[in-house]
């Protein structure tokens, strides 16, 4: 398959490209940028005139619900949603059922993803067996099975000694440890940010300290062990500062945020809106501004969807009984572009946080478009306005608090592995 993407404006932050340039693709690889590599017969031409062309988006967190939760979604169903959102690489956490603590589960996910021929799914293996925080998982075997990192998911390891050992063991195999910074005791069964809104609604609150205590402890252990660590889904301004400080001090830590944290605050749950029940919780306006600062300065190197599709019933309960999470694949790009339109981020940085930043965190080849690179491409019309309609989402999960929002930026084409897999 030989593709020619013609007339688009190429933004490739990793290679410092921001200009109009054609792209030539053959056999799943980029073979020419700007000019064709000598004589080039084209199978398919994509007219990208007036559109932006960037590397296929890399999402550091998407829960694809397979194996184990087919009633919510499957890899095949979510692949369709991903490419509609311009996403070509997704990272699945070990929170599958069964837990991704054996090579068999990793292999199953790899096969199912490959069968879609639309997306690449990379996996994080479990840090401890069953995510129980006791016995180390077989990390060496998991790495061999393709896991790009290890994580204990939403069950942060309470015992610092176990975490220290897990970090040391992960470092042995050059695995990045992905940490969800949340102190379970301080969380204390909470479901909303502890602040003015939770006080008013009488919802059990999660204090800021539940995150900062965990970040402080984890940074200390990263320094102690020398492991490479990544903080998943920061939600507080203070934690962003702590991570930035650690980075300044040379501690090998990175961080991401979920895109909804850059647009919503505790105020959005004010009428018990369960679509805004997320983990970590939506926090204060001050926190939102701190997270945006982190994204702007780069201490937060990735913005992700933290895609969590749910069946309708999961959200049809009193607030604290509902399952947290947002179906976010299809709104990741436009919500990030909204920060550009609002003058908070420049376009180049915004694209970097969706491509090269996450690729680097995951330690994978991708997220850039030089000659020889993987031919995963996202083409979008930055000016196309559309209104989010939860019922029109491709994802099987219709759970979005952005229903009714008018967003700008719509994906027109997605190329995966040198093939056109979506055309809007």
């Amino acid at each position: 398959m030989r593709l020619h993407i013609r007339g688009g404006h190429l933004i490739d932050p990793a290679n410092n490209v921001d200009r109009q340039a054609d792209i030539y693709i053959a056999d799943g690889k980029v073979v020419g940028i700007g000019n064709a590599p000598g004589p080039f017969t084209v199978d398919q031409t994509i007219d990208a005139t007036g559109h932006w062309v960037c590397p296929g988006l890399v999402d550091v967190s998407a829960h694809l619900r397979e194996p184990g939760q087919g009633h919510k979604a499957t890899i095949a169903s979510e692949a369709q949603a991903a490419v509609r959102g311009g996403i070509t690489t997704l990272c699945q956490s070990p929170m599958t059922r069964p837990v991704l603590d054996s090579p068999a589960v990793a292999e199953l996910i790899r096969q199912r993803a490959e069968a879609t021929r639309m997306i690449r799914v990379v996996t994080l293996g479990a840090l401890t067996q069953g995510l129980e925080g006791q016995q180390l998982a077989a990390m060496a075997a998991l790495k061999e099975a393709g896991c790009v990192g290890v994580s204990n998911g939403w069950s942060p390891i309470a015992n610092p000694l176990v975490l220290r050992r897990a970090m040391e063991y992960a470092a042995t195999y050059d695995l990045t440890v992905f940490l969800h910074p949340e102190d379970a005791a301080l969380r204390n069964g909470g479901c909303a940010h502890e602040g003015a809104v939770s006080v008013r609604l009488g919802l059990p609150g999660i204090p800021q300290a539940a995150e900062t205590v965990a970040v402080a402890r984890d940074i200390a252990l990263v320094e102690q062990t020398g492991v490479r660590a990544h903080f998943c889904r920061l939600s507080t301004a203070r934690a962003v500062q702590m991570v930035a400080r650690a980075q300044f001090d040379g501690v090998p830590v990175t961080a991401d945020v979920a895109v909804h944290q850059l647009h919503l605050t505790e105020m959005d749950i004010a009428d018990f809106n369960s679509q805004c029940h997320v983990r970590p919780p939506l926090r204060s306006l001050r926190d939102l501004e701190g997270l945006r600062q982190g994204v702007l300065r780069g201490s937060v190197a990735a913005v992700c969807s933290d895609h969590q599709p749910h069946e309708q019933d999961a959200k049809l309960k009193p607030f604290s009984d509902t399952e947290p999470g947002i179906s976010g694949l299809e709104t990741l790009l436009p919500l990030t572009l909204r920060l550009v339109n609002d003058g908070i981020l420049n376009l180049r940085d915004a694209i970097a946080r969706l491509t090269s930043g996450p690729a680097q965190i995951l330690g994978i080849d991708g997220g850039h478009l030089a000659v020889g690179a993987r031919a995963d491409v996202c083409i979008f019309d930055p000016d196309a306005a559309w209104v989010v309609d939860s019922n029109a989402l491709t994802s099987r999960g219709r759970n979005t608090p952005f229903h009714g929002w008018e967003l700008k930026g719509r994906v027109t084409h997605t190329v995966f592995d040198g093939r056109l897999v979506y055309e809007g």
Binding site: E194, V199, L203, D271, L316, K317, P318
Partner: protein, 326 residues
């Protein structure tokens, strides 16, 4: 996204009664006035008016309660409604039926009103958002969120004994953190325009952001009770001891228990209230609970008239002012 006030219908009349927050002073006053006109019913020998004749009221209690359920039942019966009491053990619907399925079944039986108590904050809102258009929902307590009829009967009691709200300073003492009663009282008192609302307790029981509700926190009871007109004591749940929120009952009682000595710091004509059930010797001395300034039992009596008022208003049949006797 701004939503309409789910509690009101198109004409701005009460449809559901879920929380005091967002209701106007005029509407709260209307509830109090309606309750006033209905008190004569509760005092006459034939204790019934036909305002809700032929209507079906379902008491849907997902959490144990004797007093609240009983007063709701009495209130509904005095309005001539048929009453169905459903108690669901635990918060989960026991046979795996979802909450919404259960509501749909009750609606199919043509019930007109659900009186809901649930241990989750927001449960009454959730139910109100999903019921059929002809059904009204009354919140009889949801988690730590709201207990609006309790707050209104407290306002009724205060108005009867004190007259105007404007000059009053009211202190609420105890576990503000977990109290739905306190939250509703705070909204009611600030909406009705009292001079000052104070909350008194140790920092483990007073949320840090409580001032955003327009109240002043006091951590020392003696300064907090200085010159108040109304003292509202809250029940201290036993589990607060185990959760490292307090060292012991005796220490709590010594600092925050209402004794005659501490009460002497309030105004000489201050009244003492408590939503019940009371823990004698934990948050309140027996001599105060049974003393001349205690209005605790009057609160219970007023609960019936206030609940009658809310139920009749929500079902669109508010009695005329002079219609106290049929």
């Amino acid at each position: 996204m701004k939503r309409d006030n789910i509690q009101l219908n198109d004409q701005g009349r009460l449809r559901h009664f879920l929380t005091i927050e967002g209701l106007s002073r005029a509407l709260l006053t209307e509830i109090l006035d309606t309750a006033e006109s209905l008190t004569s019913v509760t005092e006459q020998s034939v204790k019934k008016v036909p305002l809700l004749r032929g209507r079906i009221v379902v008491n849907l209690f997902f959490e144990a309660s004797t007093r609240t359920r009983t007063t709701f039942e009495l209130a509904a019966k005095r309005l001539s409604a048929d009453v169905l009491n459903i108690h669901i053990a635990g918060s989960a619907t026991s046979k795996g039926e979802t909450l919404l399925d259960m509501l749909a079944n009750l609606e199919a039986m043509h019930c007109d009103m659900f009186v809901v108590r649930h241990d989750r904050s927001g449960a009454a809102h959730f139910i109100a958002r999903h019921v059929a258009p002809h059904v009204s929902v009354i919140n009889a307590g949801d988690g730590s969120h709201a207990h609006p009829t309790q707050a209104m009967l407290d306002m009724f009691t205060i108005r009867r004994l004190k007259g105007d709200f404007y000059p009053l300073t009211v202190a609420i003492v105890g576990d503000i953190m977990h109290s739905r009663v306190a939250r509703s009282q705070i909204h009611a008192l600030t909406t009705l325009g009292v001079n000052e609302v104070r909350v008194i307790g140790p920092r483990t029981l007073i949320p840090r952001d409580i001032e955003s509700l327009g109240v002043h926190p006091y951590y020392d009871m003696k300064s907090g009770l200085q010159d108040v007109d109304v003292v509202i004591m809250l029940r201290l749940q036993n589990e607060r001891m185990s959760g490292a929120m307090l060292p012991s009952e005796s220490e709590y009682y010594s600092r925050y228990g209402l004794t005659e000595e501490k009460l002497s710091l309030a105004k000489p004509d201050a009244i003492v209230m408590h939503p019940g059930p009371i823990n004698r010797g934990v948050e309140i001395a027996s001599s105060v609970a049974d003393g001349p300034r205690s209005v605790i039992l009057q609160q219970v009596t007023h609960g019936i008239a206030v609940r009658m008022a809310v139920m009749s208003m929500a079902l669109g049949n508010p009695p005329l002012r002079q219609e106290g006797t049929p």
